[in-house]
């Protein structure tokens, strides 16, 4: 975890010098480049994993989602 934190910190510090102007962000506005490409598909995938894996949490949603079985 510490290594991952250091990598993230390095990326953030390094990228602090980067400035991409608004008119250069055409590619970033593509549908497939959005943080959430499809809100319902993402929600369905999260629900599939939440009900079948122990490693959930960190999202603001109810514990249930179909079976109420997430501990």
């Amino acid at each position: 975890m510490r290594g991952l934190f250091l990598i993230c910190a390095a990326v953030i510090l390094w990228s602090g010098c980067v400035r991409v102007a608004a008119y250069e962000r055409g590619y970033l506005s593509q549908m497939t480049m959005q943080p959430v490409v499809d809100p319902l598909e993402t929600r369905a995938a999260n629900q599939l994993h939440r009900a079948r894996e122990a490693a959930v949490g960190g999202v603001w949603s109810p514990a249930g989602g179909g079976c109420g079985c997430t501990n």
Binding site: M1, S15, A22, T32, R43, A44, W60
Partner: protein, 413 residues
């Protein structure tokens, strides 16, 4: 509780009103948008409700597998057969130039193998119907500051949950980076079905409860005109009754767990602390019109679960109006430290945690999927229609597999 009862039919009837209400809501707002479009000069200054985006989706899940927590047979590791029919609805509406709401409503209709003999009387784990209402509200207070609120509830036949949260996002360096934090909480109440004196219903109108508090921090950064990254940390603390009432644990079995003297209900500690660290990189390749996304998530908690999840996604535009998406996800987790398939005599302390839930065991999970999306109208224009279909296959090394089929439709107003 049972699916064939009048109560259950009335509930189904009420839930059937949800999409009707959404359609009425969207229809009204859309007609309002049409009215304003007749006067472009007035439209540019008008402040009012307007639906900007709506999606509907229908998912079908077909699950097969076996787990020791299930009594559905044929062996000690009972069936986890499950079918889920899941319509979902999503609407994004703008209240004015600074306030935006999104409403998400998934409805689950589940039929499953009977995981417990209590189903002879309650059908609690045999048939299940659930609906969630999730509302997100974004308030842009300045050009760089956004407040976010999330709230909603979840209803199942035996289970109720409410949740809410608050967040703040700051845009930095001319929107080249963002920093966001949020806190959220939830509260659940449910009927503790189990081997109670005189049956499976608890005495009186007893409910068990659990709650959670969570916090998240996230940073995102544009690296260049085709790449951005995101990293986040999350922590969730849960307290209360964390077990699933009908899950059981085999007791006093032989060495290969083919014969046991009986079963007891699973038991959980009263608290759980979970932490995650995650990262995402998204990159667009202009020459081939491809998008590549890679994300990683590390999870740890005080039940000794450690999990690593890696997800890779590729989207490839094959024409201006269609793309193909594919993904692969690998997940590995260790088991909770009280997981067992054979509870011994010395472990029969009623207060000692125990579970044989296959979802909490050690396993690898692999998932792959393909998706095709068509822009029915030209991308970037008003009133854009999209339709998509996808298929996902999820398999676990501890004998579980799920096939998912989905069809979706989206409309940008």
């Amino acid at each position: 509780m049972a699916a064939p009862t009048k109560t259950a039919r009335r509930r189904r009837g009420r839930w059937a009103l949800v999409p009707v209400c959404l359609v009425l809501f969207c229809g009204d707002a859309h007609s309002g948008a049409d009215d304003s479009s007749e006067d472009p000069a007035r439209d540019s200054t008008k402040e009012g409700w307007k639906v900007e985006e709506a999606h509907v989706r229908f998912n079908y899940y077909d699950q097969k597998g076996f787990g020791y927590q299930s009594q559905a047979g044929p062996g000690l590791a009972g069936s986890e057969r499950l079918r889920v029919y899941e319509p979902m609805f999503y609407v994004r509406a703008r209240q004015n130039s600074k306030v935006e709401h999104t409403v998400t409503v998934p409805v689950d209709i589940i039929t499953s193998a009977s995981t417990d003999a209590i189903d002879a009387m309650t059908s609690a784990s045999l048939h299940n119907e659930a609906v969630t209402l999730h509302i997100d509200t974004r308030v842009q207070t300045t050009d760089d500051d956004t407040l976010k609120f999330a709230y909603g509830g979840h209803i199942e036949e035996w289970y109720r949950s409410i949740f809410g949260g608050f967040g703040y996002t700051r845009d930095l360096a001319q929107d080249n980076a963002t920093f966001s934090v949020r806190v959220d909480g939830s509260f659940d109440a449910f009927k503790p079905y189990g081997p109670w004196p005189g049956g499976v219903f608890p005495p009186g109108n007893r409910r068990d409860f659990r709650g959670s508090l969570g916090g998240n921090a996230e940073v995102s950064q544009i690296l260049n005109p085709t790449t951005w990254v995101k990293a986040g940390y999350g922590i969730t603390w849960r307290k209360g009754e964390l077990l699933t009432p009908w899950n059981s644990v085999p007791v006093l079995c032989n060495s290969d767990v083919t014969q046991c003297l009986g079963r007891v209900q699973e038991k959980f500690p009263r608290t759980r602390l979970r932490q995650t660290v995650s990262g995402l990189l998204a990159h667009y390749i202009p020459r081939t019109k491809s998008t590549v996304r890679v994300s990683y998530r590390f999870y740890t908690d005080d039940f000794d679960v450690r999990a690593h999840t890696l997800l890779g996604e590729v989207y490839q535009y094959v024409t201006e109006r269609a793309y193909i998406g594919a993904h692969y996800r690998a997940h590995h987790q260790t088991a909770v430290n009280f997981w067992t398939t054979n509870l011994g005599l010395l472990e029969l302390d009623p207060n000692r945690p125990r579970t044989s839930d296959s979802d909490l065991a050690q396993f690898w999970a692999h998932e792959w999927g393909v998706k095709v999306l068509f822009h029915i109208t030209q991308p970037g224009r008003a009133h854009q229609h999209d339709i998509d279909v996808y298929f996902n296959r999820y398999t676990r090394t501890n004998n579980l597999s799920v096939n998912v089929g989905s069809i979706g439709y989206g409309y940008n107003f």
